[in-house]
Every structure is written in C-alpha cells, then in structure tokens.
Symmetry: C2
Subunit: 341 residues, 2 copies
DNA sequence: CTGAAAGCGCTTACAG
DNA sequence: CTGAAAGCGCTTACAG
C-alpha cells in the first residue's frame, strides 16, 4: 500500500516562476491579488499562461507561509458544550458551510459547559493563532468573555447570548411565548416547566417568555413550577419525576426547554402509567430531527439552527473587518404534534 | 467594548532573546528541543532564566512559523458523514481528546456520505497541509481511498473499515452475532433486519454476523427479510413499514443496525397498533445515550465509540511515524432492555 | 508590466 | 555552551 515514493514536495510559486521564466513575486500577484493588482501585474497573455500552469501543476498556496506573512490565519475557533448535542452539531454544520464559503477553516472543541475547560480550549485555539472565536457555550455568570474582550480577542456568541457581546441566537423569549399561547388555547391551566440550566440564556429566556406570557393570559404559575435541570434526557427525566411526585399540584402539561429533556420527561410520564398526549401534554424546544419521528411525536419549537450557525460566522467576519456587528436574533416557529394535540 | 488598543503583537523568540542578551536560536533550543539538546544548549541557570521569562511574558510559539520550517503542521483532518449523527459526534470527542494529548489540532467536516463532497472536503484539508486524515465515512465501493493512497496521503479509517487500509472499528460481525444469540434464546424464530446502507461496512458486517449466526442456530432467514435503509429515523421507519406490510411473513422481532433506525422502526410498529416489547421486539446498535432513556427503553449493542475515536488517532500517529499500523477492532457488548425483554 | 529584496517567526546544520 | 546564517513559502513596498 505504502510505496516509499519521494516525499512529494508541493509545488511552490518559485517552481511556477522558474518554469515560466518569471519572478515569483509576479506569479504571486497574478494568482493571489485582486483583479485590479493582478491586471496591472502582467499582460493578459502572461497571466493566462501562469494560471494555466498553476492548474496543470496542481499549485495550491501554502497557508502556513501565507499566514506567517499576512498575520491572518483564516482559521476560526469554535467551542461548544458538546458536539454530541444535536442542536450544536447542526449549528456547527452551518458554521462549516459559511466558513468554507468565506475561505475560512474551523477548529471545534467541546467544553462540556465546564468553565475550566472553556478557558483551556480557548487558549489552545489562540495558541494556534485563530483569527477569531465563536462560543456556543457562553455562561451568563462567567468571567471568560470579559477577559478575552480586554485582551482584544475577536469573538461572537452563538446559540446563547450574553448582554454586551454580539451574538447569533434564536429569539428564545418569543419561543417561550409561542408555547404559552399554544398550551393556554388548548385549555391547559396547570403547567410546569423543565427549565434547563440557569447559566444559559436559552433556558432563562425560554422560561421568561413562557412565564410572562402565561401570566399575561391570566394563568397562574408559581415559581416552584419551574424546575431547573440538565439539558439532556437524564436531566429531563429527573425534573419530570420531581414534578410528578408533587401531589399538591398536578400539571396537565409540561414545557421542556429542550427536546432531549422532553424525551426524558416523556419517559417519566410513561413510568407513572400516564399516556403522553392523552393524560399529559409535553412540548419540547428546537425541533430536532428526532421530534417528529418519535413513536409518540413531540410538539416542539423549531429554531433555525443551521441559520444560527451561518449567522455566527457572518457576524464574526464583520467583527474581523472592523464593521458594525449587531446581534442577530432569529424567529422560532411552533410545530404541534401528537404529544400535545 | 472594543477599545482600539495596539494590535497586540505576540511575543517572539527574538523578544525573549534580546531581553536576556541571548540569541534567538539559543532560546529556541532551550524551549523547544528534547532535553538532550536543550541540556547541552545552555547552562542550567540560563535555561531557567529563559523558561521563567517565557512564562512571564506569555510566550507561545507561532505554529505557522514552526510548520513552515519543519514541514509538519500538527494538524489532522477528520471527515465524517455528519456530526449530527450522535455516533460520529462521540467518536469525534475521542479524537479531540487523543489529538490534544498528542499536541495535534483537528479539522472536522461533514461529507453527508456523498462521494463528491468527500473528495472536495478532503482537498480542502490537504490544501491546509494537514499531516494526515481520518475518514469516518469510508465507502466499500469508493475509489477515493485508493487514489489518496497512490498520492502518498497518510490516512486511517474510523467506524467503517475497508479491506486493505488501517482502521479503528467496532467488531461489527461480533455485534450482529450477539443480537442473533439474544433473540434466538428469547424464543424468536421469525425476524427481520433493518440493514442500513450497503456501502458501509458497519451495515454489511452487522448484518453478516447476525445472519450467519442465525443460520448456525438453525434459524431460517430469507434474503428478503434483510431490508437496506438509511441510517436515520426516517430510514428506519420506512424499512419497518415495508417489513410490516408483508402479510406473508410477520416477524416477531426487528434488528436495526443503528439506534436511530431502531427509533424510527419503533414508531412504525406503534403506528400499526402494536406494542414494542410486547408484540414486537426491537434491538438497535451503538447504545447511544438515548437508547436507555427512551419512553420504552431500547435494547442495543454497545460499541465503544469514544475509544474508537481515540484509537483512530493513535493509529494515525503510528502511520505518521512510519510504524506498523495494525487495524484495531474493539469488542461490542449487548444491553438488553424493555424493547426486547 | 516586471524584478529584487526584505521579512513574517521559526529551526537547524555549521562554526567556534 | 552559544552565535550567525540560511531558508521554509509567501507578500508587498520600492524601484525601474
């Protein structure tokens, strides 16, 4: 398999130049400058010969050399709680697409929502000299962002927002409102919320939107009906068990701020001998691909995850260009299914 | 937020050297050489002064400059069908860990199992001058790997194997056997298989292991009982519907080679008015975190996904060092739950 | 329109 | 033990 062929040195500008009897600087201008410079750098004939040879010899510029000279790596760092969270994985797909279109490459690392790891992985990325960072794991109570801002590190937030920094998110307050409207108009009057982690704006905003709207509608919802939890299935199950154990207040509907927490909650409901949809409505958030396909399909608030990822890149690119970088908030929509029909 | 502070040039070897009245080459040897060279490069006292200053000034070597000089980028390229497939996301976590431990950084891109995209993304990575590639999306019938091998590109496979190339995988044949043993001993005699995509060794091997063992046990399983499908929920649902529509042969158990396909199948079973676990056993594969947490918990073959990712890195590192690179095949284990109890 | 030179930040033979 | 020099592959003022 592995013949020991010569190390296969890549074609350089100098190779092209000497082949054509030109200077490498000329070749560089033709191949890598804007049309204006390139045009005035060589006669159209020469330019064409250069381009043809570059193609023929499979020339591709060495990014390390370019970076060293230009002080721009065209590298972006992305940190997420975990890529094994479908929501972040999809957002990363959007990042990958948009970054590639703009000729950037991306590193991505998992922080597991651990502040120590967030720091460590960020430093690894900065040591790699990324041009900027996208954080998908911002904590409302963290100090990392302020420090990075002080150090002049360019970054934007994705999925979760923190006041004062540019971010690309779903309008989560609005998403919470949509769920309140839906459950209220379906006749529910006693509801509980599986709220997620209080350090994440996604959790806080979805809950806030829901609760505020519920009360606007004339509903009653005590603070004890809001149970903070992990974002995953296990977290949702535990929270739901806690809610269902309270005999004093039996809700007819559960709003989980995350589809996976909702799935965990569905399990807890079933364990109690109750039927999801019949005896207990359940609504999730994000409308991940699983929601519609579950044995009992799950109502969920769709958030444009791919678009959020793409927007984060565009926002960061604006920051890198020194342009105005206004936060982006994308519209959610509600998908009603069997679990709350 | 964004004060316009000076561009904040990073500390270089030369900065350290001039600060200490040394030459940058000496500093380089002290900081970046093996202990042998470093020891004979300076008196212990000087060495300590250098290291102290480097720490104090927050020196970190410019990887672009290092790469340009050494012709090694310490960059690895990873291509997977989709990171939004939990299985690949977990494997990537293993890659990230192992790569970081070895001081490598990784790019990861999605190919959506499209051969054209596999090519394109590979070329992007190679243009970035990665030292090697990890493919999590190998097709048994593709031509890309042979071409890359011809070009002398170092790579290994992960998750899916292809004969002739080094790979880190689960022993999928064994996994299929485990399921056959389990269903047979539970008394099932008519089973169908939701087989996944025929271009993936995971699908082919799991099916082969299952069918061979089933027949060894004396079971009967016609080729028509093996239905190829997508690996996702939709694929599983469609395949299960097809199986359940066949009135001539009503299986009592379904083996889906992937948890997500299994979840889709559970939906189809329920839509027919059948109870998963009672009327129809379902077994999945990979034991993703969801399996145990579903409302009706799913029996599944656990594959050591994190370990597979880690092994892929170790294997690639061996290839890069010109060492012997034997394929790694890790043991699966069966977890029986409600869906097939 | 084109070339020659300097320099980005490293590493590493070569010399002393 | 330490330094000076060359060079990795680019880009970009400067000069003509």
């Amino acid at each position: 398999m592995n013949d020991n062929r010569p190390p296969e040195r890549a074609v350089t500008l100098k190779d092209l130049a000497s082949e054509l009897g030109l200077h490498s600087s000329t070749v560089s201008r033709i191949l890598h400058s804007g049309t204006d410079v390139a045009r005035s750098a060589a006669s159209p004939g020469t330019a064409e010969r250069v381009r043809a040879l570059a193609r023929e010899m499979g020339y591709s510029p060495d990014p390390q050399a370019t970076s060293l000279r230009t002080r721009r790596t065209h590298l972006l760092g992305v940190i997420v709680p975990r890529l094994s969270d479908l929501v972040l994985a999809i957002m990363y797909e959007g990042i990958e697409e948009a970054a590639a279109e703009a000729n950037y490459s991306t590193f991505v690392m998992n922080s597991r929502d651990d502040q120590e790891l967030q720091r460590r992985k960020t430093e690894i990325m900065l040591a790699r000299r990324v041009d900027g960072m996208i954080f998908g794991d911002a904590h409302l109570d963290g100090s990392l962002l302020a420090e990075l801002s002080d150090r002049g590190v360019p970054f934007v937030l994705m999925n979760r927002r923190v006041p004062g920094y540019p971010s690309a998110t779903c309008d989560d307050v609005r998403g919470g409102e949509l769920v309140a409207d839906h459950l209220w108009s379906s006749g529910h009057r006693t509801v509980s919320v599986i709220a997620g982690e209080p350090y994440a704006s996604t959790a806080v905003d979805r809950v806030a939107g829901f609760v505020r709207r519920w009360r606007e509608l004339g509903g009653d919802i005590p603070d004890s009906a809001v149970v903070w939890s992990g974002f995953d299935t296990v977290g949702g199950r535990i929270a739901a068990e806690k809610i269902l154990q309270n005999d004093a207040r039996r809700p007819t509907a559960l709003f989980a701020v995350n589809d996976f927490a909702a799935i965990g909650a569905m399990g807890a409901v079933r364990s109690q001998g109750l039927q999801v949809g019949q005896d207990m409505a359940v609504v999730g958030y994000n409308d991940t691909s699983l929601a519609a396909q579950l044995p009992i399909s799950l109502s969920s608030v769709y958030s444009p995850m791919l678009e959020i990822g793409r927007s984060a890149v565009q926002l960061l690119l604006r920051v890198l260009n020194g342009e105005q970088a206004e936060s982006i908030r994308l519209e959610p929509t509600l998908c009603v299914r069997e679990s709350s029909a």
